[in-house]
Subunit: 350 residues, 2 copies
């Protein structure tokens, strides 16, 4: 399969706000209704009112379940019993495998060798058939094309698919329904499915709310594309800790970026790690590096203006504890549970 | 004020299931609708299906906001403009201060010197007037009585108050509405407000669901009370890491314990820490030691039976990062945000 088959002409089926609304109706009964968290101490630190939409608590630990399930619920009749397939840095693959399992379908996932160990483990636990490939989008697409040639399956692209983009937009739509007073909504950008869907949701639900994408400076293709007006890519697999954001923006999401997004920011690796640490401190949640990217921009005072209400979609929580820059491996290992340490009183009191 | 004034005869106003239902209607619009989290890998580890009601994501980072707000919404007309007051190991105080602030009231809180630093900081950030006292219930009650004598206020006891107990029960009621198939619901026990409210909710909403309280072996007053049928206390302030569970069960909650609770378990300090670590790994949430107490019993295979569906109310997330047994202080300190590390592209692409 050529890259062209994975990326058909985007103009033919760009999703719209109506697709996001329809997706929310379709998905709602099957989603975790994730909370919107805020913390006064964190607000003081940022000099803004910050609302985190906790998709790290979604099925599969990431927003990706929304787009994957939406795509499967909208699959054509001819694919109704076919296996499904994708390539993924981890979260989309796990989401697709979980959605497929819920619908009784098999799932094939190509995952690059530089994927996080936590994500590979989650993918396998979700029941996917897995093949590893070299890092980078080209290798991922080539490996998937080979696999599809051997074993036909219904492809659900991780970000360049109208059904996926509309599904991802439901997170921001829920956030805006709960916090209709937001001035800004921000998301991390890799392939741009979350940004594209979020932009559709915000433009439709609250046109005055600004939409901002944030990416690591080491994988700044969307920043460059936004500045130049031409879709630019990253070379190979950038060395950013934000393992979910190493890809380049997809064709459909680039169109949505130019039409609906107000600003793109980039942040340093150091800021990403600092943001992870501060989210743990203030919200008691361990978020994955990709999720910390917009929060890093917030902590640097670059996202939104003082006093504004800023919503951020926390994209996922699938982080390797052993590789986390601020968790100490040696002390973690010393805390295995001690069986038999409990007592029970099972009779009712006399 | 004598201890008798804080603990009037419990028989006079034990709450019932109807009070929990009414509280949920009253509180719902003002609460975070906290999610129920599950993780397949954690289920495999426990050999049970585990559902965590994430009250660590509630306002103030703990379930305590439910009971505190319910008490204030039900305060008598004569106290409608009076300050409110309590003693607390931290979470109830913060919850009461936040609820008071939402209603335009001042709040006075006595907190013991062995309270967690995170909880003291949260209490102060919530706008409470704070006085420190020696550890232990007797010192807390004495300090509060002195303060009330100087400055009259409406007392909201942290656990021995029918309005508070009914409010705390709303967490389990939400959990059972979302997961009506639970075989067991378990909560940590300190003063027993959460256990009392949970028992009412479970008996009313699903009579077949067993109710289990779990406490640290170092503060096993409820275990002893349940076994003997007489309300027993702890001496002083036990040295458990579970700082929210150092108190003794209240009179009303002891009555509810004997009537409605199926089992009380105790767990070791080592198991509590191991449980915190595993919750972080599988759910990416940092829960406070008190919350990890029932999860420790689960990991030891003592809570519920293999294959059963077990719900746990995760009581709170207010943990001191610096004092956490598995977070490394020196590496945390090295990750301050780097201002000015961001770039922005704010023009739309040409």
């Amino acid at each position: 399969m050529s890259a062209g088959a994975v990326h058909p002409s985007p103009e033919s089926d760009l999703p719209g706000f109506g697709d996001v609304v329809a997706a929310l109706g379709r998905l709602s009964p099957r989603l975790v209704r994730t909370p919107v968290a805020s913390a006064p101490g964190f607000d003081a630190l940022c000099d803004r009112r910050v609302y985190l939409k906790c998709e790290n608590l979604q099925h599969g630990g990431a927003f990706k379940y929304r787009g994957a399930l939406n795509a499967l619920l909208l699959r054509p009749a001819c694919a109704s019993h076919q296996p499904v397939a994708t390539h993924s840095s981890g979260n989309h693959g796990t989401a697709l495998a979980l959605a497929a399992r819920a619908l009784g379908l098999h799932c094939h996932v190509v995952i690059p060798q530089d994927a996080s160990a936590a994500k590979l483990a989650a993918l396998q636990a979700a029941g996917a058939s897995v093949r590893r490939c070299a890092p980078g989008l080209a290798a991922r697409e080539a490996a998937l094309a080979d696999w599809l040639a051997e074993s036909p399956a219904h492809l659900v692209h991780p970000f360049d698919d109208a059904r996926v983009i509309a599904g991802q937009g439901t997170a921001a739509l829920e956030l805006l329904c709960e916090r209709p007073d937001l001035d800004v909504v921000a998301v991390p950008v890799g392939g741009g499915g979350l940004l594209g869907g979020t932009a559709l949701a915000a433009r439709g639900a609250k046109p005055g709310c600004r939409v901002v994408g944030v990416e690591p400076a080491l994988a700044d293709d969307t920043w460059r594309s936004f500045a130049s007006g031409r879709r630019e890519g990253v070379a190979g697999s950038p060395a950013t800790i934000a393992d979910g954001l190493r890809g380049s923006i997809g064709a459909r999401n680039f169109e949505l970026l130019l039409r609906h997004v107000d600003e793109v920011l980039v942040v340093s690796e150091r800021s990403i790690v600092a943001a992870m640490r501060l989210v743990l401190e203030h919200f008691r949640m361990l978020v994955e590096p990709s999720s910390a990217v917009p929060i890093a921009a917030l902590l640097e005072g670059r996202l939104g203006r003082p006093g504004e209400r800023v919503g951020v979609v926390v994209s996922g929580g699938n982080v390797d504890l052993a590789g986390c820059p601020f968790l100490a491996g040696e002390r973690l290992a010393a805390t295995a549970p001690a069986p038999g340490g409990a007592r029970a009183a099972t009779g009712r009191g006399a």
